[in-house]
Symmetry: C2
Subunit: 395 residues, 2 copies
């Protein structure tokens, strides 16, 4: 049984704050500061260039990737770290397209994170592909026999709605298409099973539920059946079969290594590596169970005490990730008041109050405080500065 009291102690959490924005930026793991300080002093400073071999910097993208693999239902040697999520979307999408010659259609949905759509749009324009964007509920019907790649973010960044990865992948495969899953709001938040879902490509970031720090490196996974065939457009020396032979022409490395591009970000990977220590004792089914418990309790509490807001997430936890959102016509002002009162969620236009629940450090106290604070703010009108000050002046 995972000890969530112990995982909570592994984070620096500012006192007086209930932090429900780990779906945007995870808090700092206690071990990260010391690990980075040691890497800088013992490796960069003392080993200098020899650190690439002696300190294992060169193999760090694969070693750290292996630690993430376990959390997303992938095998060792199947995940590699580097760049940003947007770059990795480009890398995976270009490789997937190239594996379906003769097909040019990419299907995504309007619930996808905009950057993924921008990246797909740029790639499509460059290589003469076509990006089709439908509503999340229309994805299945839009999987047509001319489809090359189905590209979806599993968990919607606004609503928390979770796609059925296995079912949609099966439908895409039936149509002869490949799938690319963005796990930005899934990795470390839900029980992802890439292998079980028989997905083709996956990418994700590590600064949300994996707590790697602001701008932490992204990851990319290729199903082993494609790993030696995938030919990404971004051909960098670290993805070459022999990077230090400095050959004139590109020969992709075997397996997932070819998805590397440039020199790996060692300092950032070191912070992330420390953050992944916290996961060592975590069983993903426990994490998922705890996430469902927290989000269900939050929904029940808010619906009981805050009639002013409307649920913007699926009610059925099976259709939801680890975040919950509510709508309020003055959502921005309400969220500002909540944050001022020490409950940190975030706001997404036009009217969405978004709350992420990270079982590693969020517990029942956070749920209760968030519900109680939101209810109080909505009741006393303190989110409405003008009205509130007027009221305060006359009473």
């Amino acid at each position: 049984m995972t000890d969530f009291a112990a995982t909570r102690r592994a984070f620096h959490l500012p006192s007086g704050i209930t932090y429900l924005d780990g779906n945007s930026l995870g808090p700092m793991p206690v071990a990260a500061a010391d690990r980075v300080a040691r890497m800088m002093a013992d490796e960069w400073s003392d080993m200098l260039i020899a650190g690439w071999n002696k300190a294992g910097w060169y193999v760090q993208p694969r070693r750290v990737g292996d630690r993430i693999a376990r959390l997303i239902g992938a095998g060792p040697g199947e995940v590699v770290m580097g760049d940003t999520l947007s770059i990795k979307v480009f890398q995976a999408l270009s490789a997937a397209l190239a594996l379906r010659p003769g097909r040019r259609a990419i299907l995504s949905d309007s619930g996808n994170f905009p950057s993924d759509l921008y990246v797909a749009e740029g790639l499509a324009r460059a290589v003469g592909a076509e990006l089709r964007v439908v509503a999340p509920e229309d994805v299945e019907a839009a999987i047509t026999p001319d489809l090359a790649v189905l590209m979806l973010t599993e968990v919607d960044y606004r609503t928390g709605r979770r796609h059925d990865m296995a079912a949609l992948t099966a439908r895409a495969h039936d149509a002869g298409a490949l799938t690319l899953w963005d796990l930005a709001h899934s990795a470390g938040a839900v029980d992802v099973d890439l292998t079980g879902a028989d997905a083709d490509f996956a990418v994700g970031c590590t600064y949300k539920y994996l707590n790697g720090g602001p701008g932490a490196p992204a990851f990319i996974w290729t199903h082993p059946r494609h790993a030696d065939a995938a030919q990404p457009i971004l051909q960098g020396w670290m993805g070459h079969d022999a990077p230090f032979a400095f050959e004139g022409g590109y020969r992709p490395a075997a397996g997932i290594e070819r998805m590397r591009v440039g020199t790996p970000p060692v300092i950032a990977l070191t912070a992330l590596d420390a953050a992944l220590d916290v996961w060592d004792g975590v069983a993903m089914p426990d994490l998922r169970a705890r996430s469902v418990e927290l989000t269900q309790a939050f929904i029940a509490g808010v619906e009981a005490e805050c009639p002013e807001v409307t649920l913007n997430s699926p009610r059925d936890p099976a259709l939801r990730g680890s975040q919950v959102s509510f709508r309020h016509p003055q959502g921005h002002a309400v969220m500002q008041a909540l944050i001022a009162a020490g409950v940190v969620g975030d706001f997404r236009a036009p009217d969405v109050l978004r709350f992420g629940f990270a079982p590693l450090y969020n517990g029942n106290d956070d749920v209760n405080r968030a519900v109680g604070t939101l209810a109080r703010i909505l009741r006393d009108g303190s989110w409405d500065a003008e009205k509130f000050h007027h009221k305060a002046a006359v009473t």
Copy 2:
């Protein structure tokens, strides 16, 4: 007058080491460890998500870019940080190609860093362009009227040979082509003047002479005349005109901001920012003069004392960056012996001994020790383990 004794004190340099490999990885600036520690504790840990605005993380790529701009003859607001050099080559090359519709030829040379050629090859295959690679000395003659982009690394990573940026840019412009300069071995090493040379695009890394740490972020520069017209293929949300409006379609930001892609690597940029403090008191003409002095002294010393090696760099400092290389048939073994003796250069196949001189922390003592140690090793044969042990046994 730049105080190079003071800049040297700004670095952690392991005692007993003469470090001449800063052209591969610069040493750690003393201030970097504390700066990163403070960023982690005061910003990530305490501000959490609010750090994006409160701590200025969001504008960091431009703020740090401005500091680099001064070192490469660019103006404020013209440089932005992010990703790796290979990604930035792709970004700039794709934008340059798009500015020359109807032309498909990219010209580079065999002295370019292989990763740049791999990236160009991948892009060319994807968009139907053609990559032409000639010998460095044939570049000028290969600038033909059908050329779209001339893509060169200013300073050759093996020989230190420096291209004439202004002259080749003028020739390319006469032919109607644009230029893309890779400053990996130039930024912080020589007196780069992008504006004076009238270049079109430039990219570079920051872990060499700029001492940003292993895998530090890259930079990209666009001449202001192209900044609002350039349309890169890599369209990420941070390059969007309104990233936080989460619009469905991509609208590039004004100016250099459109060259941003994903979430910026805040921890790594913080280390780099600390490293750039060292440059505040450095006048680039002083740096260049000191670099020429050191490299000339090294060449003179080695040629006087080491007849076993052959100069592999241009003798004329005007044709050379801040590194010098020599050839020796057993170069690998010789470099191993040098490193074991505390003089750290590096080896590039098949027979190149490479030495980088960074005026910020290398001085005359380093030159003298490197020359003396190389001469001793070559004279006593200690680089040849087998022969040396035999000799030691019989004398």
